[in-house]
Symmetry: C2
Subunit: 448 residues, 2 copies
Amino acid sequence: MTAHDTKIMDLNRFDPSAPSDRLGERLKRMLARRFATFGGNSILFYKRPVEMVSAKGAWMFDAEGKKYLDLYNNVPCVGHGNERVAEALFRQALTLNTNTRYLYDNIHTYAERLLATCPAPLSNVVFTCSGSESNDLALQIVRAATGGSGFIVTENAYHGNTSAVHELSPSSCKGRRPPPHVRLVPPPESHRSGDGDPAGTLASNMERAIEDFKKNNIKFAGALLDSIFASDGILGGPAGLLKPALDVIHRHGGLLIIDEVQPGFGRAGKGHWNFARHGIVPDLVTMGKPMGNGFPIGGVATRPDLLEKFNRETAYFNTFGGSTLAAAAGLAVLDELEAERMIENADRQGEYLMGRLRELARTHTRIGDVRGAGLFIGVEFSKPGTREPDRESVTRLVNDLKEQGVLIGASGPFANVMRVRPPLCLSRDDADYFIGKLKTALEGMAPG
Amino acid sequence: MTAHDTKIMDLNRFDPSAPSDRLGERLKRMLARRFATFGGNSILFYKRPVEMVSAKGAWMFDAEGKKYLDLYNNVPCVGHGNERVAEALFRQALTLNTNTRYLYDNIHTYAERLLATCPAPLSNVVFTCSGSESNDLALQIVRAATGGSGFIVTENAYHGNTSAVHELSPSSCKGRRPPPHVRLVPPPESHRSGDGDPAGTLASNMERAIEDFKKNNIKFAGALLDSIFASDGILGGPAGLLKPALDVIHRHGGLLIIDEVQPGFGRAGKGHWNFARHGIVPDLVTMGKPMGNGFPIGGVATRPDLLEKFNRETAYFNTFGGSTLAAAAGLAVLDELEAERMIENADRQGEYLMGRLRELARTHTRIGDVRGAGLFIGVEFSKPGTREPDRESVTRLVNDLKEQGVLIGASGPFANVMRVRPPLCLSRDDADYFIGKLKTALEGMAPG
């Protein structure tokens, strides 16, 4: 089994060619409408897809009246149906929605509030519409600043969907080899490999990749790393994990882009940014998903000298990026994180959940590892008595749990890591509900 | 004077190095906040920037209590502060905002309503967050379908800001030469050149560019054309303008992407899509700006066979693209266009405005040409008695009109084309207001 074979499992997609007799008329009709307009390959969750009708806090509700605890969606970080965000959108849409070529107070307030969460040298921000646009822009800034084109990413990275970012996202390339200007390094994994020094290994792999660029006359530009390696299996790692790699990158004149699109905005539980856990200051930080609680907004925080170099050769403008409406949504999210102390909550509930999951691991030997930070947790499943990936158990659990009212995902090159990534408003009761359902599902499986 | 020299004028940017003593304390404070966070090169309109505070319909209001007729902004197509859109956002944000991997009725209704405006073979749509993401995705689909990499665009085209689309946007490249896989062709201009057959000329320029790809062993992929050549000077052109070029592209196995990001959604006054005026069916149509009246949404409409080929090699997913919130905004825009008969209004007011502008041209010889379609009008200024570009008059008028309460832009490689591009709810009174202000401004200039 190669990593690529598991991609479809990982996405846990609906298979349109499977027998549909148990789907019911309503679902069949909706699927027909969908495939007629989105094409037959548009990605749809679950063996039996779900028609959602509403959602509130950490819960979603389907057309059949069933409720689901949402441990999957990281976009609605301050909760589904959040009133502060909805009201901010309504008020701002009625008042003024325009681009950043006019002055408007809330745009500047948002930029200041956001940058106040970043370490000092990162004092400039460019707003975009998505994490993909953010990573794409970060690549442009790094190319302009270094004159290089060679980038390093991890083996199963996902950074977005534009042409340039797609080339740096091996997890969506369906087995194709990366282009010549891209080098892949193994993620700093230590459970399966038994590596006692993942930070050192990452650094020496970087060193090797940079040497290889030199040998091939490709000028090294930098590395693009998800600070929690979300699609590589959620590697929270020991504090300091990224420090030696950053030193190598800088020593060779490259820049480090840290992708906080998934772990950012408090999910990791210790402040706004997960990279801070590793005691580093990256050259650029990219943001997206939770930034507007579902309103499309992204951003790149960086140093003024880097932005200035880029602006000298490119007249960059983003029509919707940092619009007054986007700023209103972004401000409402920052307000809500603060007012409801959601980062502290992510930290507390994350610790609690990891404790309960480790308890389960003691009796359920399929669970090989529990790791992560805050409310971004990976539960790795291995075949009993080994460290061999057990994707079958995870695939089954994802679908079983959905039937039991829990939405959850899978991650990693072998899709054998259960991904726990709920809205940050998750309560202790919600956490207990999940553990109860997981326990039942595990007990329903053949002993392993 | 090269086309590149005029870029800054074209953008009509604020120059932070100019004396600031007349700006006032409030503006100076806001500018300082802006440059501290967005960097010194972020694009800001006008010699004296404007702080906006609200907007309604076709009008915007600044912090000094001054009102402006907005003939610049094409994003709020159904009007600033539109209530139908604001209410749709509010209701949907409270009900359910999630991605397309779950089923939800309004996503599918929106896809169906949108595709019903497109010619039959374009029966699939992929939603994105912006025109840039749409054009970037279209390039990926064309590369996958043709196996080619060579693209043709016009000399002063602008198609967006991602790495790949930027390479196809000479107007934002600040004079750098395009990369080897890009060929530039002159836009089908006929006023300055006196070309009586711009359609035929475009086709033979395409032919030549394709031959040049062959000579250089670059496989031709296709062309990316803005159907109204917005940044090349707004070339509405005679009906049928694009037909011969499309035939050439298809004869050589290429595909045509029509960029409707600016002219689309009824602006051109005859139906939803400007390309329809030319009697063609492109292979892909890209959409953006007005699609959600300021909510970030874009899309690519294409044929199922092209999308399927692309999906075979790429697992494309767009987190925010086509979310339930985006669909609610998109549906509200389609509803409003219909309920308020805005496309008919664009047609009617556009005809009226062009008539009045042509009247002005009879006494003001600086106006060399008035052209366009619906509410997308270009007014070309030339030095008296010549066809030599007169950018000075346009730059002065753009700033004068802003002082007189009219927001308007410039376009074209020489920034000598005044760009009239208001919200589609522009009234007859608004049109008369503009003509009155323009007449006064023209009369205030030295006779030319």
